[in-house]
Amino acid sequence: MRYKLTAIVAAFSVSTLLLGCYPDGPEYTEDLDLVLTNYEQSYDFKAKGTYARPDKIVKITGNLAGDDDPTYIPDKVATPILAQMDKNMAALGWAKVDVSADPDLLLTPASWETTTIYYYYDYWYWWYGGYYPYWGYPSYPTYASSYSTGTLLMNLVDPAVTGANGNLINQWSGAVNGILTGAYDAARINKGIDQAFTQSPYLKTN
């Protein structure tokens, strides 16, 4: 009996001790930052050279009705983010032009802070609709999460290329995703933007 009890106590002690030191994983919210990019393999980025973008970053709320005006993230936050995108586009050989100057591509940035998102609204129609009234809307990828997260989206669409349904096709998409900490962390966002372009060398134009 004593032998059995000792063996059971020994097994229990070893297992409890080891279960107590199960690996923890990430320590900081930055450790959960994620950058995703995707592109249309058949699209010839090298043959293009100009792009236009709005001077605001639209805020996706997920419940925008057709006639509602979109909201934007504050300019003091948006301006440096947009500048970082420009810097990366310039480094890849792209020239920024006005939307009225027939750009090869349109860069449409957006952000959302949510747990789950699913939507069909054309957030950028207010900007380019006047120039290209027959377009449909580009689609953004959808994500689901149990944390309050922030995601910065960057899409490149070619106004001359639409899909079978008449909608614009994302020739390139970049998403910078991370857990929100309540403070705008420029270094963290810039690092994500830089990474999105760094891992997309095919965007380089001649």
Binding site: Y3, L34, N177, Q199
Partner: protein, 193 residues
């Protein structure tokens, strides 16, 4: 079939009256093959419990239960699948739970130092998590398991001994996973009845 049943019956009846060994061990794991590619770091979190009935003075039959968790935090990196690229830190976990029937042969059971070797057959449950950002990829499988082993028992006194054992677990491809295999080195107390 009759032969197998007879052998099983003999083993069970013999074991009911025989001396037994219970080996409680701390186990380190060293991944090989697909497991080693996924997590290159060894596992220092694991334990094994071996139970054997001595059906002969130098033959023990019984079972083994164990657990080892492999873990590696990968550095920030970029992974590409087709046209999709994703960058971040990956946290990889692989848990192995072997459960098997085993038989050992003790070369000199009465000596102070008693080497032994054995073979085990059973199953192993593998569960693998790949965490990146706030997303988790889970893969799992129940493998058919083959496990050879060799070790030495140091007989300290009639009731208690120490053991060092080397094992190789090979779980054949199953479920979501390729074959999962690892070497294990165990140190334990052997309680004798």
């Amino acid at each position: 079939m009759k032969k197998i049943l007879f052998i099983l019956f003999t083993v069970v009846v013999s074991s009911a009256f025989a001396q037994s060994l219970t080996n409680v061990q701390y186990t380190m794991g060293f991944g090989s093959g697909d497991l080693g590619d996924f997590i290159s770091k060894p596992s220092f979190r694991g334990f094994t419990v071996d139970f054997r009935k001595l059906v002969q003075p130098n033959v023990g039959v019984g079972f083994e239960l164990g657990w080892n968790t492999f873990y590696e935090a990968k550095s920030y990196d970029t992974y590409t699948v087709g046209t999709l690229s994703y960058s971040g830190k990956q946290y990889r976990y692989n848990n192995q739970f072997p459960a098997l029937f085993a038989a050992d042969y003790y070369f000199q059971p009465e000596e102070k130092i008693s080497p032994f070797a054995g073979l085990g057959l059973g199953t192993m449950y593998s569960i693998r998590y790949t965490d990146m950002g706030q997303y988790t990829l889970k893969q799992d499988a129940w493998h058919f398991l083959l496990r050879p082993e060799a070790g030495i028992i140091f007989n300290a006194n009639p009731n208690l001994s120490f053991a060092v054992t080397g094992k190789y677990y090979y779980g054949f491809a199953a479920g979501d996973l390729d074959a999962q295999s690892y070497f294990a080195l165990s140190f334990g107390f052997v309680f004798k009845n």
